[in-house]
Point group: D2
Chain length 439, copies 4
C-alpha cells in the first residue's frame, strides 16, 4: 500500500506556495484536499462506507477518519494547545499501524465497526478542518517549520488514501454480486498504439529526488546518489489487454516454466487464470470498472495484474521488466502529464500519439523488477517517530512501482516517486511495460 513518508527537503512547492501569504494558500490547499476526499465518496450509499472485503482493503469510512486522525495526532495534539480530542477512542480506532502511537484496532476488523456512523465521521472531519485552519493561521514562528512540514506530509498522506479509496471502492463493488456502478458509463474505445523500442545508453547516472522536479518528496526517494546503468531499450507503451489475452490463450497461466517459484505457488493456490476483475462470458472477456461490468478493450493497457503475472508475461515474451533505475532514467526528462486523476477517466486508456514514449505517467502504476530497499546512503534509524515508521519499515518483500495511475493526482507524482506493494497484490491500478538489454 502506498504510504507517505517524511518530508526531506522541500522549501517550496507548486501546490503549496510558501512565499507571501503562504499560510492562507496552505489553508486553501488543505481545504481543497479535504473536500476532494469527500467528493470521492459522494456517489456512495451510507452502507458502502463500512465494507472491508479483504484485509488489504479498508472501508471508505475508515479512510476518511484515518486521514483526519493523522492531522489530529501529529499536528493538533502536539501544536494546538487548546485542542481537545474529538473522541477518546478514535486514536485507537483510526491508527493504521503506528506502533509508536500505541495500540491499534486490528486491520482485518475494520469492517466490523458500524460506529462511529458516517455522519459522525464527517463531523470528525469538520472538527479537524476547523482546528487545522486555526493551527495554520496561528502557529507561532518556532513551531511553524515543523507544522508546515507535517501539514505537507498530511496532505500527501491523504492524497495516497484518496487513491486507495478508489481502489478499495472498486473491490467492494466487485465483491457484491449486484455489481453496483460508481458512476454512469462514458466508455470510449481505445485506439491501437504501435509498439516501438526506444534505446538508451547507459553509464554513470545520478538518481533520486531532485528539487527541480518537485519541492516535496518522501525520504525513500533520497539521497541523490550515483549508479551505473548498462545500455537498454524500453517499450514505447504499456502491455495491452490484447497481449495479455494472447498470453492467456497460449496457456501462460498454466505453464510453470514461466513463473517464479513463489509466483507459481500463489497462482495455483488462488487459482489465477486472468487479471483481477476479469470474467469470461461466452468467449468474451468482461471486467469490473467504475461503470460496472464492461467488455475488455483489447487496446487498453492491461491492469490489475500482480508483479508475478507481469514477470511471467515478460518471460513468455522473451523480455524482462525494467529496473526502477531504468524507469527513472527514462522518465526524468519527460513532462508530468498523462491519464492522471484530473482527466477523470478513472481507467487506463491507450494514447493516440503513436510516436515516442507514452503512458509514462498515469494510466497504471508500472511494476519494475526492483525490490523495495533503501538507497545507498539512506540513514536507517529506529522507527521511533511517525516519519521513520512511514516508509522504511516496509523495506522487505515488496516491489517498486513507478509512474502513477489514472487515479493518482498529477501534483502527487514525480520521476523519483517510489510506490511499493507485495508482488502478489493485484487490486491497485497496476500494469507494466517491457524492457530488454541492448546487445
Amino acid at each position: 500500500m502506498p504510504r507517505p513518508a517524511k518530508q526531506a527537503c522541500a522549501t517550496e512547492n507548486d501546490t503549496i506556495c510558501c512565499k507571501g501569504n503562504f499560510r492562507h494558500k496552505l489553508q486553501s490547499v488543505f481545504l481543497q484536499l479535504r473536500q476532494t476526499s469527500n467528493q470521492i465518496c459522494a456517489p456512495l450509499e451510507i452502507e458502502d462506507y463500512g465494507i472491508q472485503t479483504m484485509p488489504d482493503v479498508s472501508p471508505p469510512k475508515w479512510h476518511l477518519a484515518h486521514t483526519s486522525w493523522f492531522f489530529e495526532t501529529f499536528l493538533l495534539k502536539p501544536f494546538l494547545p487548546s485542542y481537545r480530542e474529538f473522541h477518546p477512542l478514535y486514536s485507537q480506532l483510526f491508527n493504521s499501524y503506528y506502533n509508536t502511537i500505541g495500540s491499534y484496532h486490528p486491520r482485518p476488523e475494520r469492517g466490523l465497526l458500524s460506529r462511529p456512523t458516517v455522519q459522525q465521521v464527517y463531523a470528525y472531519r469538520e472538527h479537524i478542518n476547523e482546528h487545522m485552519l486555526q493551527l495554520i493561521e496561528y502557529a507561532n514562528e518556532d513551531d511553524w517549520p515543523e507544522v508546515f512540514t507535517r501539514t505537507q506530509l498530511g496532505i500527501n498522506h491523504e492524497q495516497q488514501h484518496q487513491e486507495l479509496m478508489f481502489t478499495d471502492i472498486k473491490h467492494i463493488f466487485f465483491c457484491n454480486p449486484l455489481r453496483p456502478r460508481y458512476r454512469e458509463s462514458s466508455h470510449k474505445s481505445c485506439i491501437p498504439e504501435k509498439l516501438q523500442w526506444i534505446k538508451y545508453e547507459g553509464g554513470a547516472i545520478t538518481q533520486g529526488y531532485d528539487a527541480a522536479h518537485s519541492n516535496f518528496c518522501y525520504d525513500n526517494e533520497g539521497p541523490s546518489h550515483k549508479i551505473f546503468l548498462q545500455d537498454f531499450q524500453i517499450a514505447s507503451r504499456l502491455v495491452t489487454n490484447q497481449e495479455m489475452m494472447d498470453f492467456i490463450k497460449d496457456g501462460g497461466y498454466q505453464d510453470a516454466r514461466l513463473w517464479l517459484s513463489d509466483a507459481w505457488d500463489i497462482a495455483c493456490k488462488l487459482g489465477w487464470q486472468a487479471p483481477l476483475y476479469w470474467e469470461q462470458r461466452d468467449d468474451q472477456w468482461w471486467h469490473m470498472t467504475f461503470t460496472g461490468m464492461q467488455t475488455v478493450d483489447p487496446h487498453a493497457p492491461v491492469c490489475h495484474v500482480s508483479f508475478y503475472e507481469a514477470d511471467a508475461y515478460a518471460r513468455w515474451a522473451n523480455k524482462r521488466l525494467p529496473t526502477e533505475q531504468e524507469w527513472e532514467h527514462v522518465a526524468r526528462p519527460l513532462p508530468i502529464e498523462g491519464n492522471l486523476r484530473e482527466q477523470d477517466i478513472l481507467q487506463p486508456t491507450s494514447n493516440s500519439t503513436n510516436h515516442g514514449l507514452t503512458q509514462i505517467y498515469g494510466d497504471v502504476w508500472e511494476w519494475t523488477q526492483s525490490p523495495y530497499t533503501a538507497y545507498s546512503g539512506y540513514r536507517q534509524t529506529a522507527f521511533s517517530d511517525f516519519s521513520s515508521e512511514y516508509n522504511s519499515k516496509f523495506m522487505s518483500n515488496q516491489m517498486v512501482l513507478r509512474g502513477g495511475s489514472c487515479v493518482t493526482p498529477s501534483n502527487h507524482i514525480r520521476p523519483s516517486y517510489r510506490n511499493f506493494f507485495y508482488p502478489a497484490n493485484r487490486w491497485q491500478f497496476s500494469g507494466f511495460r517491457l524492457a530488454e538489454d541492448n546487445s
Copy 2:
C-alpha cells in the same frame, strides 16, 4: 441456529385462529409479525444493519431480507401466479442454506454486501407484505391448506430470526470498542433465589409434540413416542452468575479434569476464562447487555455459556445436566410463562417466587446433555424439499436446548420445542440448570 421446520399437524392455533374469518386473522398475525421485525431494528443506525462479526452472526439487514425471501420462495412464487420477483439476484443473496433452491451467497460473506441498501430491503419487505396479503386473501381452496401451512411455518421461521436479530445485534455491539447501547438502561437488581431440589419419579412416559399444548410444531418434535425415565431430581432454578464466579475462583476454567476432551481443546484454543461478554475490571465482573456494559448481577442466571462450560460446571458441582426427556417431563404440566420477550426485559433475571420450579420458560435456553437426533419413528427422507432441509439435516454434532429465553416470543415456545446449537456456541441466551440421579 434455531431453524423452523415443517408443520406437522396444526389445524388451529392460539396465534392463528383458523375458524370463521381466519384468513383475515392470519393477515393480521402476519402483519403484526412483520412489523415486530422492523421494530426490533428500529434502534439501529443504517451502518449497524450490515455488520457480520463472525460466520455465525448475520447482519440485521440480511435477517430482514432472508425472512422475506422465505415467503417469496416458498409461497409467492409457487402460489401467486401474478407474482414477479422483486430482484432476480435476491434468491441467491438471501437463501440461507437451501441446497435444493440453488446456489447461495457464502455465509461468512454476508457482511460484504453494502447493496441492497437498508432502504431497498425495507422496500423488499413491503413488496412481500403486499403480495402475501393478496395471497392469503385470494388463494384458491385447493392451494389453501398448503398456503396456510407454509405461512404458519414462515411466521415461525421469522420469529426464530427475530431472536437471532437480538443475539446478533448484541454481538455486533460487543465487538465494537465503543460498545454502543441498544437502548437506555432500566436495570434492577435481582433478588436471590434459594436452590431447592425437586424429585421426580421415573417410569414409562410418552413424550413429543402434543396438540393440547400448541397447534403448531416442527417435525423434529414428533412423533409422540414412549420412553423410560429413571427417578431423578432437578434444581428448582437456573445456575446463577454468583455460582459461576465461584467456579471461576476455584480455577474451574484451568482444570482439565472438569472438561470433556473436545471441550478442553476448544477452551484452550479460544482462551475461555469466563462466559462470553464478561470482562473483569478491578476485581469486578462486567458484561455486555442491551444497555451497554453493566456489572454482573450475582443473583441473575448465568448466560452466554456453551454446553461445554455448563457440562464442566456440572462436573465441578458433582451434578449433571438434565436430559431433554427429563426437562420435557418437568415442563409438560407447567404454564408457558416467564421472562419471555413480551416482558421486554431482554436479559435473564431471578424469580422472586422462591418456591417450586422457576425459570422453566424464558430467561435462558437451557442446555441439556442430549445430542440432537431424530426421535424413534421419525421418518428420515432425502432433504429434497424445503421442509426436510429445515431441521433434520442438522442432526449431527449439536446439543438440544429447551425452554426459550428472554428474547423468545411466548407464542413460539412449548414443552416439546427443541432448539439446537453446537456445544461450543455461546452467543445465544444460553444457560443451564442442574440435575442428578435420585439414588
Copy 3:
C-alpha cells in the same frame, strides 16, 4: 478412537481365569498379549515404525511404547516398590492424553521422534514385561484386587492398540506411492449374499453390560438399564461394495440432498468421491489392502466409510442406520463368532451362510445412528484418575460403532461393547448395515 475404560465388575474372565493358580494364568495371558503386539509389527521394516501420516495415526513404535507406558504408570510405579523407571522422559513421550498424569508430547508430533530407536522400544517392552511378571507374582494381597483390575484393563487397552496398529499401518502404507505390502496375497473372491430383512418386536428391554457374556467390560457399557424399543427390521447382512458403487454411479457423492449439513461441508472440503483407499483406474475400482492394491470385490462389505457416508447411503436407499439399542438387541442372543482377527483374513468378506443374520461380529465395525453419550444412571465424575479419563471424557461429538472388525480379537468383543469415533473418521475398519421402522 477406541479407548479402553475402567473395569466395572469383573471377577472372572474367560481369558483371565482367576481361580486356582490364576496369577500364573494371568502371567501367561499377559505375555501372550505382549507377544502378539510384537508379532503384528514383525513384517515391518525399521523405517515403518516411526511414520505418522495424519494426527489420528500413531507410529507403530509409539503404540508399542505407549502400551508399555500404561503398565509402567498405572501398575509398576504405584505397586512395585523396587521399580525404577526405564527412562525419565518416557512418561512424557508416551502419555497419550492423560492430563492427570502430567504434560504429554503433542499428538501430531509423534512422527518426529526418531529416538528412542525401535531396538530401544523393544528393550523397554522387555523391561516392562519382566517387572510386570514380578508384580503379578509378588503383589501382596491388599494390592492384588487393584493390581488385577488394572492389569486386566491394561490388557484390554493393548488389545485396542493392536487394532489401531493394523489400521495405522494400512494408512502408512497407503500414503506411500510405492504402496508396500504388509504380507503376501491370498485373496479369495467373495460369494454374493442375499439381503433379507429380519423383523424384531419392540417393547421394554434391559440393556447394558451383562456378566453372562463376559466378565470384563468398560464403564461406558453400564449400568444395566431399561429402554423402550419400537418394532423394527434390520438387514441380514452388511452393505456391500457393489451397493456402494451403485450409490457412486447414481451421483450420491454429488447430491447435497442426501447429506447431513456438516457431512456435506466436510465431503466437499476433503473431496470425497468414494470410500477411503479406493482408486479408480480405467473404470475399475481398486483399493488398498494388507496385500497391496487389489480390485474391489463387489460382494465384500464396504469398508473405510465414515458415519456421514453411511448415513447418506441410507438416506439414498430410503432406509436408516440402526440405533445402538437396536443393534444390541439383535446381537445379544448371538454367539460371538465371525471374521475376527483370529481368522487372519484381515479384510471383510461375505458370509456364505445365506440365511439369517450374518456378520454381526467381525468384518467391520458397524456405524449406528447413536451419538456416544452416557447411559442413564452412569455416574459422571471429574476426570481425576486414569479410569475416569479413559472413556467418558470423549462423550461429545462421536458416534457409536458396534460389533468389532476383522482385526478385533474375539475375546475383546461382546454385545454391550461400544466403540466410538468422530462421524468423519474413515481409517478404521468401519462399515454399516441398514435398518428401518416396522410399519
Copy 4:
C-alpha cells in the same frame, strides 16, 4: 535454500583437474564426494534418516536419494544409453521441484515415506556411482563437454545438500525432547575478539564471478558488471552471542520500533525471544549443538538468526547490515580460509588473530541487506531446462547471504558466491556482521 545453478564458464577447476587424465581425476573427485555424503550420515540411526521436522527440512534419506536422482536424471538417462533406471517411481519421489521433469512428491510429505528403506537408498547410491563412473569413463567426445559441465554441477549440488544434511540433522535432533548427540563433545571456550571498524573507499568497481578465484560458478554470480560503491566501513568480526544477549536484555525482541513491519508480524506470531536453538535455564542460556545442549559461549559468533533479527539488531546498534556488493568488495582480495567444514569444528568460533578482518569465510553465512535478484545483464529465460530452474526462479522474496559457514566445504565457496534464503529462515548456520556509511 541454497540451490546449485548452471555452470557458466568453467574449463578447469581446482577440485576437478581437467588436464591430462582428468577423466580419472573426475571419477576420483566424484567418488570422494559421494563417500562424504555417506560419512555425514554415519552417526545416524536408521530411524533418524526418515524424519522431517518442518517443510524446510528434508529427511537425510531424501537428501541421499535426491542427489543421486540428480545424476540419474540429468546425466545417466540422457547420456548413458545402456542405463536403466533403478526404480520407476524414484523420479517422482526424489525430484525436488523441477516442474520441467514432471510431477513430484509434495515437499511437506517427504517424512511420510518409510520406503524405500535406508538400505535401498544406499543401494540406489551405489547403482548411480557405478554408472556415473562408466559414463565419465566412456562418454564420447561429442557429449563430453556437456557431461563434464553437468557432472561438475551435480558435484556442487551434492555439496550444497551436504550442508543441508548438517542443518537438517541438527533440527531433527533438536525437535526430539531426548536431544540426541550427533557426536561427542570436544568443546573449547572462545577467546574474546576486539571489534574494529575497517574503512573502505568507494568508487566504480567491477563485481561478479572472476575466473581467477575459481573455475566454477553458478549463473547467478554473473555476468561480471560494474557498480558504484559509496565509502563505507565494516566490522572486523561477526556479532557475538554476548552482543545478542545484550540486545535481548535491552528488550530488543519486544521493541516494535526496531523491527521491519513484516519482521514484527512474524516475530510475534512465532514468539521469537532469542535465536533458534536457544533455551534459558536458571538465567543461563543454552543452545543445541552437534554435541547436544551446551551453554552459549559469549564470545562465539551468534548463529541461527534470521535476516529479520540481524536487521533489528543492527537498527538497535545504530548500524546497518552490509550490502552484498560491499561484502564482495571486502572479500575479494582475501584468501579463502577460515572455520569451514574441513576444520571439523561444526560450530562457529571466535578468531584469535585480533587484528584485521576475520571470519569472512566460514563460521556463519552472513546476512546482507540485499534482496536476491538478477545482476544487470543476466539473461532471463523461461525455466525450460534444469539449469534455468536451478537458481533464477527463486529470485523473489529471498535475501543474499555470503561467505559460507562451518559446514561449507572450502572448495565450494568463493567471493562471488551468492547463497539465498527467506528473511525469516533461521535453521541454517546464519549470522551477520555490521557495517555503516563512512561519513
